[in-house]
Subunit: 218 residues, 2 copies
């Protein structure tokens, strides 16, 4: 694709992400995305044949952005447990700040309502986390009695639900803290003595957290 | 309402639950629910003015069923921590076996796509769990450094996500085990020494779990 076409495609994806964030899949259409991206409807149709294709492209772009950020942050990190914690934290940050990431996750949640198979991303994510957990066990940071795959399933489920409830209750205002609290809650069971006494790991989860008081619930 | 009208209403709710489970909110309508319940369309309209009203009634019935089962199971239970664990386990069982409960949760997840405010049930559930966690701290079963409200938020988020990912990956086939694994993962951080050495609490979470291998991921 030419540079200019690529730039237009990026603009469309960002415009579409804004529209999907506001109206969800059902309430969105290509015309609204074109308007938001300040391009013609023809330009949108040139790149995407349907709303479903556009939604899939937003999800793919979200996935790419998250992977890129995580890889960037962990380029020099040798400890798998640190990578696991930092990845969740980075994902939480992006869910609080990045329009495309927010839209991608909203569309993934809505996927089953418009016939999109969403198992793939979860299966991939669980497989990645299983590998990291196995390495962390070899590195002595995760306790030997932790089953790597069961732990990865739990972690992915837990992260997914914590961010979802956080969005519903408080528009993810406290998500970073809530994800740290997730890690803290499992720390004594899952982390080895060595990991728990490690300054860098402690910094990542910040030890026992200050009380969370989501404004809506006070 | 007369007894016969109540019986018809129950039939309609069960029929509607089957339809919502299969097709989601978007793919369902009152005619399909009538057909599934083996009643006339007129009977459905007599009880429910719209698909939205019918969906809300299924969610309300799911909530009632879960509360009733939990109350029944915990009638003689004095320990708040045991109530928390058993409630999650009972909810998991219902999500694996009860058509109305499955449909209610599917509709709650889909709610934001058809304009239903779904914050209420989560806020109520977090408030209940916060109260139980406070009592469990007083009873010496939950560690003093656990913030009751933050823990309740985490627990509700975690349960929600674990059951959701379980549904996507394996139609909730292993959900009971996965919820036990959730409790096991947080046990050493959250539970007091006293709770951890208690035979009844240990039975509820069944100690370190056997490896989970969801068939689709093997």
């Amino acid at each position: 694709m030419q540079e200019r076409a690529l730039a237009t495609r990026s603009l469309i994806l960002l415009g579409a992400a804004r529209v999907f964030n506001q109206f969800g899949f059902n309430g969105s259409n290509l015309a609204l995305a074109a308007e938001e991206a300040k391009v013609t409807k023809g330009a949108v149709y040139f790149h995407f044949s349907s709303k479903l294709e556009l939604a899939k492209a937003v999800i793919a772009e979200q996935h790419r952005l998250v992977q890129e950020k995580i890889a960037e942050n962990n380029r020099d990190e040798q400890r798998a447990l640190a990578v696991m914690i930092a990845s969740c934290q980075e994902f939480a940050n992006l869910l609080q700040t990045d329009t495309v990431v927010k839209a991608g996750i909203r569309l993934t949640f809505e996927g089953p309502t418009f016939g999109l198979d969403v198992a793939g991303p979860y299966i991939d994510w669980i497989a990645d986390m299983t590998q990291l957990a196995l390495t962390a066990k070899e590195q002595g940071d995760i306790n030997p009695d932790v089953d790597a795959k069961a732990f990865a399933m739990f972690l992915v489920g837990s992260f997914t639900g914590v961010q979802m409830v956080s969005e519903i209750i408080s528009d993810r205002r406290e998500l970073s803290k809530e994800i740290k609290n997730m890690w803290w809650s499992i720390g004594n069971t899952v982390f080895s003595e060595k990991a728990r006494s490690d300054a860098r790991i402690s910094t990542l989860i910040e030890g026992p957290l200050e009380p969370l008081t989501p404004p809506e619930m006070a």
